[in-house]
Symmetry: C2
Subunit: 339 residues, 2 copies
DNA sequence: GGTTAGCACTCTAGCCACAGGAGTGCTAAT
DNA sequence: ATTAGCACTCCTGTGGCTAGAGTGCTAACC
């Protein structure tokens, strides 16, 4: 791979990313001032195809990048643009609102990223299991219903309205919740869940039932469900490779399977602060073999707890997406510093 | 409109609903034992077209129903099937879970309806404005952050994490919230919002700031946003009339504009317990002129507070959808009796 | 020896003509 | 009033054809 081959490959992919049409030698020679003739480019392109970086849809068409070609482009060739300061400001503004639930940040992030990139965006929220119990409160909704509110210290909140147990009144339940919170505040939710299996944890006969309910309910706390927020899914309809409804269905259907998405982002992306790119068949899920996924991680209290991610056609604006995600995930981590 | 015309129109629409192909006189005569020849049917069909109930895509094609034809079908012709008792049981089971937030019911409903009908489903939650304040609590998330939880007596809950004000500690905020709840419990949220404009409501100098924050926050409570839950939107991709990505984009794009959807369901559907059907251009929104919308209302405390609704191609399984929605909205109203 | 002009070759997309088929409307017979 | 028959219309699918884009190869060039 000499410099000229790299130059040609990079230019070709740049062109294909915006045109979505196979790129021929003539186009390359004319449109971009490469200083060499189309014949030379043809020779080089034949080499690049032999090396596996390019493909030909059919004999008399131009070339398109192969998965391997995209991979080389992402790893070696693409030029990262600077993120405009107005974009950064926009993100900072959004994150500086006086709202502090983690769920809110997740939604904001997904929304902004899909708008900024014009691709669908997926954001994975921190796992509840790793967070610590912040507080539990009981509220009275009406005469027969109470609302349990459980919060982690990092700002994840879960509500559950339940009937008031027959043999208790509100004060009692409130007192119980207070005791529960006093006993377990600061304990990781995961440990709390484990308690359920430990019968010794419920001392008082009287409150046995509700105490167990509280624990049972904790165990129920959606640890794997509902962690995934999807935004801008309709963006995908804009790209010509998805003019076929069947493809759209495959991809969007996949994106709605939260567990699969979480698995994809969790397992394949290394726990690093590097942006990670999955191209086409590199994905373990064949539903998105026509797509590329770009993933960045964000941190809470110094630990990586979730991902911000973009999905689009393999012909994706990698440079723009990568820098955008880098910036957003960094800002998100910063915005979550209070937690 | 004699009986035979009605019979022909009804049969033709029944056929078109499943086949999605223009229906010819021969098909009608052969496939369904109408006891008359195709020539007679042709004459009748010509009449029906003149009356505006049928259309011809082109001269040598069969007929398809016009909007007016569907309207007549829905109002007069269609045969409502019985809802299977297993289906009813499934819905009752789902609604009998020991969970009682209204938001949960809304999601369940949308999910179930879209599965049962195989169309996208939209459910509108009760307006917050009409509900009454149930309780307010303040929770401590961590040293600098507090979580306000506001609930209506009907089980709608809203959380907001905010920084602890500089000049207050948690006890003070907690006491304040307690006072606030004591003062305003049972008051409609709408009235609470109006208070914001009334400067006399804040007596105590000391707590002026937070008191106002609480009120301001109430006013912020998404009264119009977020009322709309959409489920099964990908179902629409299954129908041949949406093989064109542009159409899909128009319709799904519309469904994501919550305010428009709410407006559609609120304004056009009468406040009755009758199921209401909007066919094609009867809708004020041209984005869904290729679609029909079926809407049922549900009740909370004897008042109609929201809608359960299905959207699909004009060639919709009206009979099935109408009976399903009737059943589901009834069960939903029943399930919300505790509130 | 690398580069390039030139040329023959290949393959697709688009166009046109054509035939088959489905369905109609009309007429005349029942 | 109904229906069989028939001419007519229009869409759809097919096949052949051409134009154009792009390639690979060869021979000339620097």
């Amino acid at each position: 791979m000499d410099a000229r081959k790299r130059r040609i490959l990079g230019t070709l992919i740049d062109d294909y990313i915006v045109s979505a049409e196979p790129v021929g030698s003539r186009t390359l020679a004319k449109k971009y001032g490469l200083g060499i003739s189309s014949a030379t480019i043809r020779n080089e392109m034949a080499d690049l195809e032999e090396l596996g970086f390019l493909e030909q849809p059919h004999t008399s068409a131009g070339r398109i990048p192969s998965d391997r070609g995209y991979r080389y482009y992402v790893d070696e060739l693409m030029q990262r643009p600077q993120v405009g300061s107005d974009t950064v400001n926009r993100v900072r503004m959004a994150f500086s609102a006086p709202v502090r639930e983690i769920a809110w940040f997740i939604h904001q992030t997904a929304q902004m990223v899909s708008e900024m990139t014009a691709y669908p965006s997926v954001v994975v929220a921190p796992p509840v299991n790793d967070a610590c119990l912040g507080d539990i409160r009981v509220m009275q909704l009406n005469s027969g219903t109470l609302l349990l509110v459980v919060a982690t210290d990092s700002g994840m909140v879960e509500n559950r309205a339940v009937p008031l147990p027959e043999d208790m009144n509100f004060e009692q339940v409130g007192w119980l919740a207070h005791e529960f919170a006093r006993e377990f505040r600061g304990m990781p939710i995961k440990e709390l869940k484990d308690r359920i299996l430990d019968p010794l944890s419920s001392d008082e006969e009287r409150y046995h039932g509700l105490w167990e309910s509280l624990l049972a309910w904790m165990s129920d706390w959606r640890s794997n469900d509902d962690r995934v927020t999807l935004a801008g899914s309709l963006n995908i309809l804009k790209y010509p490779e998805f003019r076929d409804v069947g493809k759209v269905e495959r991809v969007l259907g996949f994106l709605q399977r939260e567990q699969a998405v979480e698995q994809l982002l969790n397992q394949t992306s290394p726990q690093s602060d590097q942006v990670h790119v999955i191209i086409g068949q590199e994905s373990p899920f064949d539903a998105i073999w026509d797509c590329s996924v770009v993933t960045a991680t964000y941190q809470l209290r110094g630990h990586i707890v979730g991902q911000v991610s973009v999905i689009g056609p393999k012909r994706m604006q990698y440079a723009h997406v990568v820098t955008t995600l880098e910036m957003v995930s960094e800002e998100l981590s910063r915005a979550l510093k209070w937690a």
